[in-house]
Symmetry: D2
Subunit: 345 residues, 4 copies
Amino acid sequence: MIKAGVIGSTGYAGQQLVWFLNNHPDVKINFLSSHSYSGVSFSKIYGNYSKSIESICVDIKEAESKLSEIDILFIALPHGKSFNLVKKALNLGVKVIDLGADFRLKDPDIYKQWYALDHQAINLLPKSIYGLPELNRKIIKESNLIANPGCYPTASILALTPLLKSNIIDPFSIIIDAKSGVSGAGRSLNTSILYGECNESIKAYSVSSHRHTPEIEQVLSQINSENISLLFTPHLVPMNRGILTTCYGNLVKDISQEELYKIYSSFYKDESFVRVIEEIPETKWVKGSNFCDIAIRVDERTKKVIIVSAIDNLIKGAAGQAVQNMNIMFNLDENKGLDLLSMFP
Amino acid sequence: MIKAGVIGSTGYAGQQLVWFLNNHPDVKINFLSSHSYSGVSFSKIYGNYSKSIESICVDIKEAESKLSEIDILFIALPHGKSFNLVKKALNLGVKVIDLGADFRLKDPDIYKQWYALDHQAINLLPKSIYGLPELNRKIIKESNLIANPGCYPTASILALTPLLKSNIIDPFSIIIDAKSGVSGAGRSLNTSILYGECNESIKAYSVSSHRHTPEIEQVLSQINSENISLLFTPHLVPMNRGILTTCYGNLVKDISQEELYKIYSSFYKDESFVRVIEEIPETKWVKGSNFCDIAIRVDERTKKVIIVSAIDNLIKGAAGQAVQNMNIMFNLDENKGLDLLSMFP
Amino acid sequence: MIKAGVIGSTGYAGQQLVWFLNNHPDVKINFLSSHSYSGVSFSKIYGNYSKSIESICVDIKEAESKLSEIDILFIALPHGKSFNLVKKALNLGVKVIDLGADFRLKDPDIYKQWYALDHQAINLLPKSIYGLPELNRKIIKESNLIANPGCYPTASILALTPLLKSNIIDPFSIIIDAKSGVSGAGRSLNTSILYGECNESIKAYSVSSHRHTPEIEQVLSQINSENISLLFTPHLVPMNRGILTTCYGNLVKDISQEELYKIYSSFYKDESFVRVIEEIPETKWVKGSNFCDIAIRVDERTKKVIIVSAIDNLIKGAAGQAVQNMNIMFNLDENKGLDLLSMFP
Amino acid sequence: MIKAGVIGSTGYAGQQLVWFLNNHPDVKINFLSSHSYSGVSFSKIYGNYSKSIESICVDIKEAESKLSEIDILFIALPHGKSFNLVKKALNLGVKVIDLGADFRLKDPDIYKQWYALDHQAINLLPKSIYGLPELNRKIIKESNLIANPGCYPTASILALTPLLKSNIIDPFSIIIDAKSGVSGAGRSLNTSILYGECNESIKAYSVSSHRHTPEIEQVLSQINSENISLLFTPHLVPMNRGILTTCYGNLVKDISQEELYKIYSSFYKDESFVRVIEEIPETKWVKGSNFCDIAIRVDERTKKVIIVSAIDNLIKGAAGQAVQNMNIMFNLDENKGLDLLSMFP
């Protein structure tokens, strides 16, 4: 059994991770840590775990004292909070999967520019691996420190990678118009995520300034061999879960929709969790699952291509992908504990 | 492996059943039958099954020709449609679980009164077992024909049974005020379940005339040893899933809330799927699971007791309970394939 | 022009009141006061007022300094906060409509019992009028201090008054099962009203302990001539607005549904804002309007009557009723500025 | 008083129009016509009109017989259904506002190409005026036949017109990513707009093939003096009302966000219903009103401009704009009967 600890277990992403770890046949949860709810039973915070996970959340200090008892540490904290924890865990030989943003960007200057914070573990950056299995499976297996991708970047990168690998679009024409359910904003107290404020409305936010922009650019630039600048616009949609990205690019060669489908199907043919489908994705078909659905349309009138992808932001966009990475790191079947279809409606 | 056939697989309850059968380690689906979508791939109708259940839905005729190949037949049809199918299946030695209403009421006159239809398999009524495992586990095990309970009756009966067993309330004072998500109304084309008609509104419906009334009365009357008439009022709530019942009764003896909790906890102490909890239930904590959560409040000012119960109408209220019944009938662990917690949010 | 001031203008009820005052042909808003947003433009807080109400919210001190400039003061504060304000305003000859709870209960002991607070303006209680125009129109006209009814009490009392006036039900059998949209919980930061916590779920809350219980009892007891204890259970429904009450009572005489309809239609025949209708009410038909819709069902099997009523909790349940009271106090047409139908969907 | 008739009064747009006409001080509704509900009282179909609009819907034949009694005919029918009606009405000297698509596209070949239908009133096309008051106020005043704009085109054209007038963007770089509430899909029975199918999900649809594309292109091409091809992608969002468009274009000159704001503010300075605002628009601030909110962002990294606009699809995107056009045609104040702010939440 893999012994796991979870820091930040009572946020939405952390709690989703607990769900999957609890459901995983090869994992035993050692501790659940929470800043806001230390000393409280996990099932008092989230009633779905009633009679099932009655253990008491520990504070960060107690969590640190238990690091030597575990094999893997999951961290689901706001950015800037994981530096010391990661160092301590790695020093003790504990593998780390960080669901936060601190180890995703390779360049500490870009980190500082977008997160307004000095990076405090620069020497670890070369060792951290961007945990998108579809791109980095081999190096994830060898790594002790995984930077679990952001939700928007997961959906965006999976949508765009085959296009960029094939040099089919102008890399400077990329626009990603993304739409997310409200759980993506977390569970912190904030007027903007009150029921009455979100329900029955849609808005764009962080236009041209969202922190996932450099993360997407970094990964796509590696694929493209040239640095890419792109435009990323997130929107808030009145639903609990799900991200839909609608990605646009200018075609630089004549290519049919059918040919593009072949490229995508071939690129993802061995992937358990990417489904290249004919119908335009809807978030409802992936909600509650680790899948990423992708469809392709070519607009011959404007010589543009449209790629639409859908994920569950808390699963393939966070906790599910973290478990997928753990499975890889521990040589388990990659889809162990993750083989659930979306439950509809 | 248990070989299963599903009639009515493309309604919401049927589809939910397919989800659980597909997820069950001991079941192999032999055929999926659909009136509206015969000849269509299941995953074209419900995109969550993309790349997973690509089999083609058969029509009822083809389904009947395959009855001899299966061990169990699940029927999820509107009332009045299952009579012949049940006869044929039983004659071939196939066990039957009917998720519809045709075999729940023991008295064909009451059936006719509420469903405006002559019962067409009266001789089977004595053999059919009301498939609520918490009450009828032993006889379910011996039966070949299970009448799977209605969604409202499941939540209502589980809420009220310990009270009636203990002769604590006036059985003629019972009022059940129930609230259901929209999936309970099925997937048939009907203006009243269009998005714009349901969203942002709540209504009562079928006031004093809902067909689940006699079903609840029948089961509670058996417990009470005297025939009970009660008032049942369903409401439609703008959410996909979930039933909350708020049940009221007049206390006939002085009893504290604590004592009532002891009675309930004791009554359900060996049940996997009933959770007697302190907090008032919320449907979100059971959504996606087979649990029924129950809490108790005594109002000393009015000498009334309030029992609140919550289930997922498509799971404990339909497909999950059907699988639970199947597990019992086939001597499997009762919670096999059903041991999922609600995924939140 | 009536010069009006609003204290607590940036909560949901306060803001709804501003909407109606702004829309009223005979009212000029003198000041908007806010604890949380003093110094901020009203339209920065609520974007619907962009280019329309750009005035800056004042703090309570500035509001008090302007009392002498106004004809009427509306107060939309949490309970316990309005005592001094009301005294000051009345002393200056300013009429007051308090949308909060502080002047609704006539008995300061009951106030203390349910609100856990000593009443601090006991001498004003005899002068305050419960502002339900359908019952108290005449004395509202003469009053300077209106206790604007609670949302649940408005819907409940309008539903039950004709029954009690006619001595048709056992007054001790009354159960009110009420369902409210989330705006009823206000706009304060509270995890329980985050989008992810309310959406896709229904719950009961404050079972047998909600503070609107004694308010309903007080008014119905006056009608009944004997003190009534009743059971009131509120529920939280995933929608922005609307209250539906399902009220139950035991009939003490043989009476048909048709006769009851005659009693209700007659009782409310001169009312602009109460609609006695055949169809069971749905909150969507009153949302955005000052109407209360009421329907009646008799269940002959159990000798019970069910009254269903629907209001918009922020309008007939708060701001609309406040404006209706103002119209009465200032001898205006009672429906002035309130004659809007619900906009659907 | 203006005597008005409404054809197609029981669809969502038609019904919204009835709401505004009923609310308009200078309009008297002469007849309401409905294909699906002829012979039924309007308030039986839409309960918000209970006790208010009890008149019986007439069929098309009776409606035609009443054409001579009215001053203006509003038509809210699916495309292809209004040709004869328009001819008859115009021949009788009745002004016509067609909320459908039949008279929007000037080129019958383009109409045929996108609507798969031969245009059957080609001679009327030169006389029909595209009823976007902000662009065509003067010729609307002189016209007898108004083609009321589509919902998406209204939001898109208002967002993009000042940019194109100023030659600031590459007209061939335009991408419009639009999001609509479900009422935009109408009230016809269709599985895809059932509650369970729309709730808790977002999807793109009609990607690169939506019929509003040529309508937007036609109007923007007139502004641009060169024919524009653009990419338009609509999405379905789980909310009743509202359209948000996120419009992208490549800047062809160095220009700051501030300068763009000046251009927009100047362009719309005399408009009652267009609000150029600092904050990114949210549909909740315009829902229930005739406003179009617009904000501008410049992304200096990619040299792109993002314009976000929000409208209520049933009001500024349909019925409100129709009334605005009527006001212009009859020399009334343009905002008469339309001066309502959005009611929140």
